[in-house]
């Protein structure tokens, strides 16, 4: 057998192994990430009991870690759906082992990000007042508020992303169903929605996935644009900027790809999927990351240059606090993390290895978190009337909550890999088949889900 053939024959066992076999490492991961999550839940409980005053917020810094995390995680969520959808729509073949991994990131990051608008409320138990529903008070939410736009945009995106994750999962769920026994078999039977792999089902799935891929792209773009409008619609210095929509979307994709690369590397290592997630994938995503890094730098430069050149008193105060003032260490760390180091790593072919791209990605994720923080806090701490300038220092509650989000993310991801094949089995097989029949006009032969 050729190497290709070996691969083909091992596809199912390789890709389904994580679902059926559980190593000690998985338990350790779950234990660690779970305890981080528990700590964060404890912190949130404490916050609920005592009030949001247990955070380091003050006047004038009314948003800090909370909204930073919100924007950051919503940004990360752009990894997936958008990348997978764009690649799918453009028919990039190398996408195949990457898509599921990416889509899962989207859903989980979105779930985490979407928590923060509720968590950060002064009275979180009243979050449902944002929902338009008839009530005895005769009151409706305010449709002029960007926060309400957020409410709709995020919900739409979450729903779309879930569908977009779920649709391509169906054939693989059927695959697991066929391999599983007992209760598990029953659950997967329900989840796979009676998938039999018929030609009609395949074509409907293709169509649905195709439609969703097209729909999800504008939704994703709109979500982060609307998130950026939370800031851009205000009249605060360095928030009120027309560039914020594309700037945020670019930043989101930027951090999203970085997160994806890291997730892929971990999965590749842990589940021994070296044969599926190859250096080419890291190389290609690395190139994409390079593009985004350059784009991010361009936007950042444009944004700061206009502030600097405008030399307007209120804006200048914020600008200077970032460039040379109290926030300068964080600002320059951000520039280094997002551009100065990653750019050469990603630009030089020799360095664009798996470890190279992962290192760059890790820096970028940190850098982009800092970027969100630096958008929010310096502007808030330097209001127009200088008498009211303030500062901000996080408390353990906010730090725990932030750490908890990462724990939660890892936990969700670990559980996901336990339940579903993290590399889309059918898509991967489809790719191989397509490659085999390259040039053939015939209907590609399906590598049917059940049995081989």
């Amino acid at each position: 057998m050729s190497k290709e053939d070996v691969l083909k024959s091992n596809i199912n066992s390789d890709l389904l192994r994580p679902v059926f076999k559980t190593g000690i490492g998985w338990y350790i991961t779950v234990a660690i990430s779970g305890s981080l999550l528990l700590a964060a839940m404890g912190a949130f409980g404490y916050q609920l009991y005592s009030g949001i005053g247990v955070w380091g917020l003050n006047r004038p810094v009314m948003w800090a870690f909370d909204i930073t995390n919100f924007v950051f995680w919503i940004g990360i969520s752009h990894a997936g759906t958008l990348i997978s959808a764009i690649l799918r729509v453009t028919g990039a073949e190398w996408r195949r082992p990457v898509t599921r991994c990416a889509e899962a990131i989207t859903v989980f990051a979105l779930m985490i990000g979407a928590m923060f608008p509720i968590v950060h409320l002064g009275r979180p138990y009243l979050f449902y007042w944002l929902a338009p529903y008839p009530n005895s008070r005769g009151l409706w939410p305010n449709y002029r508020s960007p926060l309400l736009w957020d409410f709709f945009a995020i919900n739409t995106y979450l729903l779309g992303s879930l569908i977009y994750l779920y649709l391509p999962l169906i054939p693989d769920l059927a695959l697991v169903r066929d391999k599983a026994k007992g209760l598990r078999h029953k659950i997967y039977s329900i989840a796979s929605l009676g998938w039999r792999g018929t030609q009609v089902q395949w074509s409907r799935l293709e169509k649905a996935v195709g439609v969703m891929a097209v729909i999800i792209i504008p939704v994703a773009v709109s979500v982060h644009t609307i998130v950026s409008w939370d800031f851009a619609m205000t009249i605060r210095p360095m928030w009120h900027s027309t560039i914020f929509g594309p700037y945020f979307v670019a930043g989101a994709i930027f951090s999203g790809i970085a997160a994806l690369i890291m997730a892929m590397a971990v999965i590749r290592k842990v589940f021994h999927l070296e044969a599926y997630l190859k250096p080419i994938h890291f190389n290609n995503l690395g190139l994409l990351l390079l593009t985004m890094s350059l784009l991010w730098f361009y936007f950042t430069f444009a944004e700061y240059l206009t502030s600097y050149y405008g030399n307007e008193r209120v804006e200048k105060a914020v600008f200077q606090s970032k460039i040379s003032g109290a926030y300068a260490p964080l600002f320059w760390a951000m520039v280094v993390c997002c551009f100065v180091i990653p750019m050469p790593i990603l630009a030089i072919k020799k360095l664009r290895t798996i470890s190279g791209t992962v290192a760059a990605s890790a820096l970028i994720v940190v850098g982009m978190w800092l970027e969100r923080f630096l958008i929010i806090v310096p502007t808030l701490s330097q209001p127009a009337l200088p008498f009211n300038w303030g500062s901000y220092r996080p408390t353990w509650v906010e730090i725990t909550l932030t750490a908890g989000t990462f724990g939660y993310f890892v936990l969700l991801y670990a559980v996901f890999t336990k339940l579903f094949p993290i590399v889309a089995v059918w898509e991967f097989k489809e790719g191989l088949t397509l490659a085999d029949h390259a040039g053939s006009v015939a209907e590609p032969q399906r590598l049917v889900a059940h049995g081989d």
Partner: protein
């Protein structure tokens, strides 16, 4: 579990969309408040007139009460002093009434003296202890062995104390030893008072008088200042302030002149010299100054001492003399010593001839109908610091409205020497901690009182197109705004009670009767029937104010004959200031605008009120010029150690751009070791290094050193620390 906690934990929040809910009936507790009686209707505001007791200015106030609780204090629009306005301190009076640290009832010492351990007793028991001990001490050591230390208190309490002491046979009254106040210095201790018509002045020179914050009657002068700036039918007045450290008052000045500390009198004479030599005033000048005897004070000769350029002094002199209605006032550091500076400043007024003129100085018309209620014998106040008052040994000290242990910690031992100490303080302050018996007074809002004086107003009379100086005698009556919150008793009533038990009853049965008698006296003075009908009495308690006929001001004899102007030469050329390497700076300890000298440190509203200039709250600080600080490597917010010959203090530094580089300044007010949760253990007490506030000579002449100290400073600010600029309306 509170309902709110329940909501949070169950996560339903205000999910119940109805305002009413069926479970429980938590509002039942409110039912009693919903039942009216003859005197009271729930849900309706009642306004009660009283007199503010948070400083000595005596502004009229109205207390808003609802459901038998006081919830707001406002200025009484009918009161001639404050005309409805009221300062920050006055507004915070509610927290005197409802302070959680008030003494809830009479107490006697249960532990060691000074341990702060007391046990509650009944008023009967308290009175018995007081009577027995006083009788005992009198029997053993004679009548004079009882001393009454009386500080700021109501007239009713003071009159009662007078009678009590008189019947007891003791004349040992001890006052807060204010060495001599402004008017005493100006009038050479004749008891006459002066008032300044700032409202109509066109040019105001203030030599350290913080008339917008603490000086004399801040609300009255603030109202006048508003007119001075933007009154109708007049040009905006110019205000120049001379002060080593910019106070809030100086911050309002058009020009701030940081003359060297202690040279205010010198500067006044320099200005006078210019006015005389350039013949800027048409007024005749007394011969001994006209012939050039002031020449030694010429700006050119004194500019080095004053530390202001001579040209500036000459310019100020010319502006002052050329102005239509110039006025000079003196206070603060200028009220130093034996009055030389004040008289030198007042000489300027004489020079420009503004005595009893609109925009000038007025002698307050005497109006003291309450004198008839007293014993007739003038009280001989002995200053607290006088040694002979404290030989102790079997004598008793009754103390009311004073806290000498805090203001002058050095005095603790001498007070401790008294065998029996009775405090009437409503709070356990540092002095009360040493007491053997605490007989808590009512707060002023629960007390009876009456004040009588003359208000002077010169107002622009639009019809006559002229300024009308009109002194108006008035009396202000304070009746209890609410019934006593705790088991306290007005001191006058305690004294009435005790005197009766000692067999020497006072001439009135209660503090209310004292006020009624005083009202009769006032009515007599106003040419009305002494008897007052019930209806008039009721409406008087509501309005709080009775005014007599205004008549044009007349007497200037006091002002003319005051030393002012006749002997201005007594002033020495500058304070002796030996340069001192060990202590290179002057300490300026000043009165905190809100906390005063510390008597209001227990009011949380005032603690949380940002200082207007530094924006500091809840603590102490020391102001240092940024250049000085830079040379000492001190940064804003650093902990520094301030040392004088008397001791040292550690407190946070505030870089303050408006202070002389050779001066450091810190406010009085903090550093309490007792006095309740809001005051205790907060900041430092400058009295320990700069002397008590009444020791003016010491206060403005103490030398100190400053150095950075190790440790964390606790500096709380409301506004930013930066001396930033801004292009907003100015």
């Amino acid at each position: 579990m509170k309902r709110r906690e329940f909501i949070v934990l169950t996560g339903v929040g205000a999910a119940s969309t109805t305002l009413l809910s069926g479970c429980g009936n938590p509002e039942n507790a409110l039912i009693p408040a919903l039942i009216p009686d003859d005197t009271y209707t729930p849900g309706i505001d009642y306004w009660k007139a009283s007199t503010c007791a948070l400083c000595s200015a005596g502004c009229g106030i109205l207390v808003r009460t609802r459901e038998r609780a006081a919830n707001k204090i406002e200025g009484n629009p009918l009161h001639p002093v404050n005309k409805g306005a009221l300062c920050a301190r006055g507004q915070a009076g509610l927290q005197v009434l409802y302070n959680p640290d008030r003494v809830k009832g009479p107490m006697k010492r249960s532990g060691e003296r000074g341990s702060g351990q007391f046990e509650s007793i009944s008023w009967d028991e308290a009175a018995k202890i007081l009577v027995d001990r006083l009788a005992d001490i009198r029997a053993k050591n004679g009548q004079a062995s009882v001393a009454f230390s009386l500080g700021n208190t109501s007239n009713v309490n003071r009159i009662a104390a007078e009678h009590f002491m008189s019947s007891f046979g003791s004349e040992r009254f001890i006052s807060a030893p204010v060495s001599s106040d402004h008017d005493d210095l100006l009038f050479n201790g004749t008891g006459q008072r002066a008032v300044f018509d700032i409202a109509n002045a066109t040019y105001l020179l203030s030599f350290g008088a913080r008339f917008l914050e603490t000086w004399q009657s801040p609300v009255m002068y603030s109202l006048a200042y508003g007119e001075f700036r933007r009154g109708k039918n007049r040009r905006r007045g110019k205000f120049v302030m001379i002060e080593p450290r910019m106070s809030t008052t100086a911050a309002n000045a058009d020009e701030w002149l940081p003359a060297a500390i202690g040279t205010e009198g010198l500067l006044a004479l320099a200005i006078a010299q210019v006015i005389i030599r350039e013949k800027l005033t048409p007024n005749p000048v007394s011969p001994n100054v006209a012939n050039g005897t002031l020449d030694e004070f010429a700006p050119e000769k004194t500019e080095a001492d004053i530390n202001l350029p001579a040209e500036k002094i000459v310019r100020i002199a010319r502006e002052f003399a050329a102005s239509e209605r110039p006025l000079a006032i003196a206070g603060g550091a200028a009220a130093l010593g034996d009055g030389e500076s004040i008289r030198a400043v007042h000489f300027l007024n004489k020079l420009v001839g503004n005595l009893n003129m609109p925009g000038g100085v007025f002698e307050v018309e005497q109006f003291d109908p309450l004198a008839k209620l007293g014993t007739g014998k003038p009280i001989k106040w002995a200053p607290l610091s006088e040694k002979d008052g404290y030989e102790g040994g079997g004598s008793a000290l009754l103390i009311h409205g004073m806290n000498p242990v805090f203001h002058s910690p050095q005095m603790t031992d001498r007070i401790n020497a008294f065998q029996f100490i009775v405090s009437f303080s409503p709070f356990i302050d540092e002095t009360t901690q040493l007491a053997d018996l605490i007989l808590p007074d009512h707060s002023y809002l629960e007390s009876w009182d009456i004040q009588a004086a003359t208000a002077h107003h010169t107002v622009w009379h639009a019809d006559l197109r002229a300024l009308q100086p009109t002194p108006t005698p008035y009396a202000a009556i304070a009746s209890p705004a609410i019934s006593p919150e705790f088991d306290t008793k007005q001191t006058a009533d305690v004294l009435i009670d005790v005197s009766r038990q000692l067999g020497q009853p006072l001439p009135f049965e209660s503090s209310e009767e004292c006020v009624r008698k005083a009202v009769s006296e006032v009515r007599r003075a106003f040419g009305q029937a002494a008897e007052i009908s019930d209806e008039d009495w009721k409406s008087l308690l509501e309005s709080g104010v009775m005014t007599g006929d205004s008549k044009p001001s007349g007497s200037t004899s006091g002002l003319e004959s005051a030393k002012a102007g006749d002997q201005p030469l007594a002033i020495s050329t500058g304070e002796p200031k030996p340069s001192n390497d060990a202590y290179p700076f002057f300490v300026l300890a000043y009165e905190h605008a809100a906390l005063g000298y510390g008597d209001h440190a227990n009011l949380p509203w005032l603690q949380e009120l940002p200082d207007p200039l530094t924006s500091v709250l809840w603590g102490s600080w020391v102001e240092i010029n940024p250049k000085t600080a830079a040379s000492l490597h001190i940064e804003d917010g650093d902990l520094v150690e301030v040392k004088t010959a008397d001791g040292s203090l550690r407190l946070p530094a505030v870089l303050f751009p408006a202070i002389r580089p050779d001066v450091i300044a810190m406010p009085y007010g903090q550093g309490h070791t007792a006095y309740g949760q809001y005051a205790k253990g907060r900041g430092v007490n400058p009295a320990t290094i700069a002397g008590p506030y009444w020791d003016a000579k010491k206060r403005f002449g103490v030398r100190a050193s400053v150095a950075k100290a190790a440790g964390e400073a606790k500096l709380v600010r409301f506004g930013t620390s930066l001396p930033e600029k801004i292009d907003t309306p100015r």
